[in-house]
């Protein structure tokens, strides 16, 4: 019964975020346009510059489209900290804390809508890539990209939760998130292959889940060759999720408890 109530509360948070999102009528249009502009830019870059390691401009374009789609997922993960900051300012975080549902579950629930939305936006980006720019998807493995992306989200999510904890502690929503996203874009190989990076940076790129997630999704969506086996990529993502998820929840719990002890949880 308690599980059912918690499930309904998770659904309520998701619906709340959907309604808030829909109340800003031009948001979807502006995000779709951003995707279209990015795709257009890289479409012409792929035709202008010969990129070593790619047999044709189309293969680099396919590579980068998956990267662009994953960037939106990345932004969604890190948007949680800004959402938490807005809740702190509005005083609604205090309400969550005072509810039987609780603040930790509340913050975790806050991730559902942005991630589903990012999932949809990623699909839309790929769809536009196919329909407008002639992107060739590897259809036989495309369905497998759905569970692969879900697994990738589980390994990305702890980063969002850690930044949410940091926001509760520092009251600043974007403490370094833009730097982290930029850094991940580089070392995660979202726009170019990590083989172009210096060796030390290549080592760093394997210390986070974005590289195996990007490689795996590229393999499933556009048939890019994998550096390792599919099983290794999946194992890496599972490993990151299993280690980082409890750590991020602990950090969140700790940030809230420290805020309650010091009385700073009510500050914003």
């Amino acid at each position: 019964m308690a599980l059912r109530h918690a499930g309904l509360a998770f659904g309520a948070v998701m619906r709340r975020d959907l309604h808030v999102y829909l109340s800003y009528r031009t948001r979807l249009v502006s995000q779709v346009l951003t995707s279209v502009f990015s795709l257009t830019l890289f479409y012409y870059v792929s035709r202008l510059v010969h990129v070593s390691g790619f047999p044709s401009p189309a293969s680099y374009f396919g590579f980068v489209v998956v990267g662009i789609a994953l960037v939106s997922v990345l932004y969604s993960c890190f948007s949680i900290s800004e959402m938490v900051r807005q809740e702190l300012i509005a005083g609604t975080f205090e309400r969550l804390l005072l509810s039987p549902f609780g603040a930790i579950r509340g913050v975790v629930a806050m991730t559902i809508f942005p991630l589903l939305y990012a999932f949809m936006l990623a699909a839309l980006t790929l769809g536009i890539g196919c329909a407008v720019f002639g992107l060739q998807l590897h259809w036989s493995t495309v369905p497998l990209s759905v569970p692969a992306l879900a697994l990738a989200l589980l390994s990305f999510l702890p980063f969002g939760l850690l930044f949410a904890a940091l926001t509760i502690a520092t009251k600043q929503g974007s403490v370094g998130t833009s730097w982290v996203i930029a850094l991940i874009s580089i070392v995660g190989g979202l726009y170019f292959p990590i083989s172009l990076l210096p060796e030390w940076a290549q080592t760093a790129s394997h210390l986070q889940p974005f590289t195996p997630a990007t490689e795996l999704l590229r393999h499933l969506l556009v048939d890019s060759p994998l550096q390792t086996s599919t099983a290794t990529a999946i194992a890496k993502l599972v490993g990151f999720a299993v280690v980082l998820m409890p750590a991020s929840l602990f950090a969140l719990h700790h940030a809230i408890r420290i805020g309650q002890r010091r009385g700073t949880i009510i500050e914003y």
């Binding site: 308690a2 059912r4 109530h5 918690a6 309904l8 509360a9 659904g11 309520a12 948070v13 619906r15 709340r16 309604h19 808030v20 109340s23 800003y24 509005a90 005083g91 609604t92 205090e94 309400r95 969550l96 804390l97 005072l98 509810s99 039987p100 549902f101 609780g102 509340g106 309650q260 002890r261 009385g263 949880i265 009510i266």
Partner: protein
């Protein structure tokens, strides 16, 4: 505020399987287990260089009673309510609902106790009044079958019908306060803490609040009302306390 007498549990308490009030009292926190809300030796100091805002505050609230807590601005009334609500921790001492603290059973604590913070915050500006209430009903983890009916009852009880489909950022401050109060009473808590509830309320809003409190008292609930000393209050309270110099004194 009453002596530690034992009374029959309220029907709501039975529904939530609260500890029976006729149990023999043991030396370990005996009286507190039989009381809806107790504060014991509550200390809080915001900065080391400043005097403590609360210095060993003791307060016991009994079933079916209403208590007023007053004091000057900055006396620590809101801090005391936040501690009682389980929002912040005291430096020393404890706040308990039926003998347990929020840290021991957070979900149950907040199921039994509801807190209206001072000010006009705690609302989602872009949600309609009805969606706001539905959201809080879910977060309060009400029975799924009850949610819709309870929300509509609350809309009626707090006269929010005309506003129900309007966004919160498009209603007046007084109407928002009525909504905040409606949210506080939505899940029919046993213990209600109100911090300056009359802020922005007109006479009609104040009357609606009185009706909600009367319903709480009928359910043998417990009320702690906090407002600055000097604010004209027409309602009767069973006990009246002033917070001064970090301690409670009877008015």
């Amino acid at each position: 505020m009453t002596p530690h007498s034992l009374q029959e549990p309220a029907p709501a308490s039975e529904r939530l399987a609260l500890p029976p009030l006729d149990r023999p009292l043991s030396p370990a926190m005996p009286a507190d287990q039989g009381m809806p809300l107790t504060l014991r030796g509550v200390h809080k100091r915001w900065h080391k260089s400043q005097a403590p805002v609360l210095e060993g505050v003791d307060l016991t609230l009994d079933l079916g009673t209403s208590t007023w807590l007053g004091g000057r601005n900055g006396a620590g009334k809101t801090t005391l309510l936040r501690i009682a609500a389980g929002l912040i921790d005291p430096d020393r001492g404890r706040a308990q609902v039926w003998g347990f603290t929020a840290a021991e059973n957070r979900a149950r604590y907040h199921r039994l106790l509801s807190f209206l913070p001072a000010g006009d915050r705690g609302l989602y500006a872009r949600l309609t009044v009805r969606r706001q209430l539905r959201f809080w009903a879910r977060i309060a983890m009400l029975e799924a079958a009850l949610v819709r009916a309870r929300v509509e009852e609350t809309i009626d009880a707090f006269d929010l019908g005309e506003l129900a489909d309007r966004r919160v950022d498009r209603i007046s401050m007084g109407q928002r306060q009525r909504l905040r109060i409606a949210m506080t009473f939505l899940a029919r808590p046993e213990i209600v803490l109100l911090d300056e509830p009359l802020t922005s309320l007109d006479a009609e809003g104040a009357e609606i609040l009185e009706r909600a409190i009367a319903e709480l008292m009928e359910r043998n609930g417990t009320l702690l009302w906090c407002s600055p000393s000097g604010e004209p209050l027409e309602r009767h309270f069973d006990a009246r306390w002033i917070l001064a110099g970090g301690r409670l004194v009877q008015e």
